[in-house]
């Protein structure tokens, strides 16, 4: 099984002893070795992002120089994206969207480096991210509209309600499926393609696929946050 061809990762130093010493415990909960590596790589990305943010925040100045320049460009680009897509009333959602964007982008991109693994190549991570987006849209809708939020599901005419209500519920639930599967399929597909091409000819043939991997990482991040923002603004606006 090609998923068992797992390339060596830095977190193997932690997950190998942890898995083999507590094997009965992991097997009782159905946790595989790859899940340990996946979660540890998620933590690695989080630690790297937090340390980078803390290093910049220590010395913030009015006239930026050095790494503060780079992060100001990143933050202002994300702010432009959020305000253009959601309008001015979307500013409270900027921390959520920007955190999702930076996390997903770093998780996707870090798999290109040799001793790291993209955490998003596992359905568990992408399902968690999709659930965050889903719960946020419904929480925001219920907080803004109260009980009248149900009118979003009912459609334009009252006699179509028995037909449209299940369809709307299913289409809302399928948003979780589509968000998680899109991100998982793209990143896992790229990883599998590179693994299989590496088995053919190690250092030359995977290079075009790795260029494509950088491109796909950015595009999938952009699509995820665009969809999250569109769902949130759709649940904030008035019903049909």
């Amino acid at each position: 099984m090609a998923a068992d061809i797992h390339p060596p990762v830095f977190t193997d130093y932690i997950s190998n002893p942890a898995f083999h010493s507590m094997e009965a415990f992991w097997n009782k909960w159905g946790i595989q070795h790859t899940d340990l590596n996946n979660v540890l790589n998620t933590w690695l990305v989080m630690i790297v992002l937090i340390i980078l943010a803390w290093l910049v925040k220590r010395k913030l100045e009015m006239v930026p120089k050095g790494s503060q320049n780079f992060w100001e460009v990143v933050v202002s680009t994300l702010e432009d994206i959020v305000v253009q897509t959601m309008g001015e009333h979307g500013r409270p959602f900027f921390p959520l969207v920007a955190s999702l964007a930076l996390f997903i982008l770093s998780c996707n991109l870090i798999g290109i480096l040799p001793w790291f693994q993209s955490s998003t190549n596992n359905l568990n991570t992408t399902l968690a991210l999709a659930l965050i987006a889903f719960i946020m849209t419904h929480y925001v809708g219920i907080r803004a509209h109260g009980v009248k939020y149900v009118k979003h599901f009912l459609g334009p005419v009252s006699w179509l309600v028995p037909l449209l209500f299940p369809i709307e519920i299913i289409s809302h639930l399928s948003r979780i499926l589509s968000l998680s599967f899109r991100l998982f399929g793209n990143i896992m597909g790229e990883d599998l393609a590179i693994v299989i091409l590496t088995l053919l000819l190690p250092y030359l043939i995977p290079l075009p696929m790795m260029v494509l991997q950088v491109f796909t990482s950015f595009i999938q991040t952009l699509v995820f946050i665009m969809l999250t923002m569109m769902y949130i603004s759709a649940s904030l606006e008035e019903a049909h």
């Binding site: 099984m1 090609a2 599967f181 899109r182 399929g185 793209n186 597909g189 595009i219 699509v223």
Partner: protein, 110 residues
């Protein structure tokens, strides 16, 4: 055109039955589950790629024409096109997931 389509269907039917006859002796009592699984995985990703290719070509063609008519909204058209392509691509990704499940985690092969 119609005769070519019918001839293609007949050839496909003959291939499927011939493959079943040649392959039945390999796994007793399961009548070529592995063979049909592999065929199914290949067809899944192949047909998924056809649909995605046609749809994406149509989308990009419309975007390029729109950009040529009105270059100053080119940025917004590009963003909309990228999001639309990701939507279309996700349908092919569903087909890819089915193909991967069939090849690597088939529940019918013990």
């Amino acid at each position: 055109m119609r005769r070519a389509f019918l001839a293609g269907l007949i050839i496909l039917g003959i291939t499927l039955f011939a493959g079943l006859a040649f392959a039945a002796e390999s796994s007793e009592g399961m009548l070529g589950v592995i063979q049909y699984t592999v065929l199914g995985a290949g067809l899944a990703i192949g047909l998924g790629a056809i649909g995605s290719g046609v749809g994406m070509g149509h989308a990009i063609g419309g975007t390029v024409e729109g950009m040529s008519r009105n270059p100053e909204v080119g940025g917004r058209l590009l963003t909309t096109m990228i999001i639309g392509l990701a939507m279309i691509e996700s349908l092919t990704i569903y087909a890819l997931v089915i193909a991967l499940i069939l090849l690597f985690g088939n529940p019918y092969i013990k």
